[in-house]
């Protein structure tokens, strides 16, 4: 019994310790935002890797989700004779929830893994040590550019995803569910409030920060050898995804709780 309690205690303590070290890591990253030197080229490179190259996967995900959402809401709404809500619910569901969460998750899969693998490999091949001996702070050179780029790029990806998702809903609505094109668009626009959209973009920024921070953190903590890098990559994706869901709930409470 005491053994059991002790093992629970140890697990709790080690969980708390990793929460603390992630928090310190995030704080240190942000602190470098205010202390030169800055590595502009690394930032641009990260922006392209994280933002531009994620567009196809985020766009496709949003497109199919928007279409499926329209079908589901139509089916659900028809039970109450409320099929007319399809455009507005698709739009609100997309911009408030699905756009940011799905966008964040796709970026987590694509970006957290590649950041963790890249930095982890640099760690095990002593490239991080080499950076230090060349008077370059790895947090400034590797971490800050990626975290900053993701925090800026993911909201943009979310905005694109929102639009593409609404378009997917529109195409299904007009072609499969016999909505009038002009009515669909009017309903979409009329019921959408600015805060619906901006709250989703804020979420996107938070998720971008989470994804890149977890990628860098686990990469930097990577154990030795290929196995270490593999474990770091897995931890980065899993922790980024879970944290996205947790942060999504907390932000939704903050933004929309009555």
């Amino acid at each position: 019994m005491t053994r059991f309690l002790a093992s629970i205690g140890r697990a709790v303590l080690s969980a708390l310790a990793s929460v603390g070290s992630v928090a310190l890591f995030a704080l240190e990253t942000v602190s470098h935002l205010f202390r030169p030197p800055f590595y502009g080229r690394e930032f641009w490179h990260a922006l392209i890797q994280i933002g531009w190259l994620s567009l196809p996967v985020v766009g496709l995900t949003a497109f199919f989700t928007g279409g499926a959402l329209a079908l589901q809401i139509f089916a659900g709404g028809s039970r109450y004779g409320a099929e007319a809500v399809v455009p507005s619910i698709v739009a609100i569901g997309m911009v408030r929830e699905l756009g940011p969460v799905l966008g964040g998750l796709m970026v987590a899969a694509r970006v957290a893994s590649s950041i963790a693998a890249e930095i982890g490999t640099m760690k095990v091949t002593e490239q991080i040590d080499a950076l230090v001996t060349l008077s370059t702070n790895p947090m400034k050179y590797l971490t800050l550019p990626r975290v900053l780029a993701a925090t800026i790029a993911v909201p943009v990806l979310v905005a694109v995803g929102d639009s593409v998702g609404i378009m997917g809903g529109y195409l299904v609505g007009v072609n499969r569910l016999d909505f009038n094109s002009a009515t669909y668009l009017k309903n979409t626009v009329d019921f959408l409030e600015t805060w619906d959209i901006t709250s989703g973009l804020f979420k996107g920024a938070a998720f971008g920060f989470i994804v890149a921070t977890m990628g860098c953190y686990h990469g930097m903590q990577s154990g030795r050898g290929a196995q270490g890098v593999g474990a770091a990559t897995k931890s980065a994706v899993v922790s980024a995804s879970v944290l996205i869901f947790a942060a999504n709930y907390i932000l939704t409470e903050l933004f929309f709780a009555a």
Binding site: Q127, D129, L131, T133, S135
Partner: protein
Amino acid sequence: MIELRDIHKTFGSNHVLRGVNLSIPKGSSMVIIGGSGTGKSVTLKCILGLVTPDQGQILVGGQNVEDVSRDAFLARFGMLFQGAALFDSIPVWQNVAFRLMRGALKRPKAEAREIAIEKLRRVGLKPEVADKFPAELSGGMQKRVGLARAIAADPEIIFFDEPTTGLDPIMSGVINDLIREIVTEMGATALTITHDMTSVRAIADNVAMLHDGVVKWTGAVNDMDTSGDPYVDQFIHGRAEGPIAAVR
């Protein structure tokens, strides 16, 4: 002048360094020899601050390394890693010119590139190599690029971790001459790890033999053959029999 006083380092249950004492006079070339896994690379990393010793002091130029600013301290160093540790996302010349393209030593791109190509030439690499990526090079070529990067900013103190491992005998000769030249002509202080006894004789002013976490013997390279130390004798003659166990 670099001085190590009673350096200890443990990784988990592995007590690697057990009180290393070593002093390297300014402008001289010290070579550390010793069996594989005895902590030679760890010793270098301790001096650079990449590994924090559990105990002991490291003095560079009379100052405790913990008291001086890390940036100013590292600006005087060049380091060749055992595995070369090239940045694989940038081409060879940018690896070599890394220090010359950012920070205090920043200069125009064209000039940095020119210096990089000159340093590559000094380690026996043709200018064509400059635009390749590290992954396209052989192990020995990567090692030499690492060497070029270590000397790119003309540092005062240079560490070489196995500079000739993986090189053919002719290239080894080129590299040995280069290291000797850097010490005698540029007045740099060099600390080299090597298993290659030809290199030891070509590079060293002084030799230190690391075993069981301590410096077993240290002295001038000319005294190495007559040291009378059984560890040194076994090592330089490469005998399987002796005080150093063959299984470690």
